[in-house]
């Protein structure tokens, strides 16, 4: 279920964008709302900076995620292939 505005408005206020911006960055707003938020972020420097801050925080959190899972992935892939009789080997 995507976040959407309770009513249709051509332009959003900074307050509305403040409530929507994180969902927008997470891809959790519907298309129409996303387009309106994006338009506001283009025009409003303050909200644009706000969005940029959250974007950087999200990116840093993703980079901080434990990254040493490659060996586990390899073993699990082998396990999956053993379950399906190597059918996925060429996929």
């Amino acid at each position: 279920m995507k976040l959407r505005l309770p009513f249709s408005r051509r332009h959003l206020s900074c307050r509305q964008v403040g409530r929507l911006v994180q969902g927008y960055l997470d891809g959790e707003t519907d298309e129409e709302t996303a387009a309106k938020v994006a338009a506001h972020l283009e025009d409003c420097k303050r909200c644009g900076l706000d969005a940029q801050t959250y974007r950087e925080i999200k990116a840093a959190l993703a980079r901080n995620a434990p990254g040493d899972l490659d060996e586990s992935v390899g073993r699990l892939r082998e396990f999956g292939e053993s379950l399906t009789g190597d059918q996925g080997a060429d996929a």
């Binding site: 925080i57 959190l61 434990p66 699990l76 396990f79």
Partner: protein
């Protein structure tokens, strides 16, 4: 899936076991899968496998914060100023993240680190989607507040 398991179990070995168990269960019950929403289906199996692992103890999605023995944020020495700046920013974000309450940390881990949608995180944590959203947004707001005390211009880290 491995990242989700990692955020639940908090160590790589248990995470791998949990995903293996999930794959096995999925393989055995593939006949009952209707082909729709495979991610949600697998996450449900994973959650059930985790609950079973702890024999009806409440799912340990929200562990003691002191258990979080996380790896260093970035490996290797920074080779350029930009990398150093990014590394310092990441370290500040990590420090702020560690100060969050377990409830807030778990949604950040599932959405920002494991890449789940709000709906998937809600299903896994057995809380309403609105609660995922409000916790996540408040958690990031707190990280941001924390950053503003360590770096006055948190919006221009790069």
């Amino acid at each position: 899936m491995l990242r989700v398991a990692r955020s639940i179990t908090r160590n790589n070995h248990d995470a791998e076991d949990l995903v293996q168990e999930t794959l096995l269960r999925a393989y055995r019950s593939i006949d009952r899968f209707d082909g729709r929403h495979p991610r949600a289906w697998l996450l449900t199996i994973l959650r059930n496998a985790e609950i079973n692992r702890h024999r009806r103890r409440r799912p340990e999605l929200l562990r003691d914060p002191d258990d979080a023995q996380r790896e260093p944020a970035a490996g290797g020495a920074p080779s350029a100023e930009a990398t150093a700046l990014e590394g310092a920013f990441d370290a500040d974000v990590e420090a702020a993240f560690q100060q969050l309450s377990p409830e807030f940390r778990s949604v950040v881990e599932l959405v920002d680190m494991a890449g789940l949608s709000y709906a998937e995180a809600a299903e896994l944590l057995e809380i309403p989607q609105g609660t995922v959203m409000s916790r996540l947004h408040r958690a990031r707001g707190r990280i941001r507040e924390q950053l503003s005390t360590t770096r006055p211009h948190a919006g221009s880290a790069g």
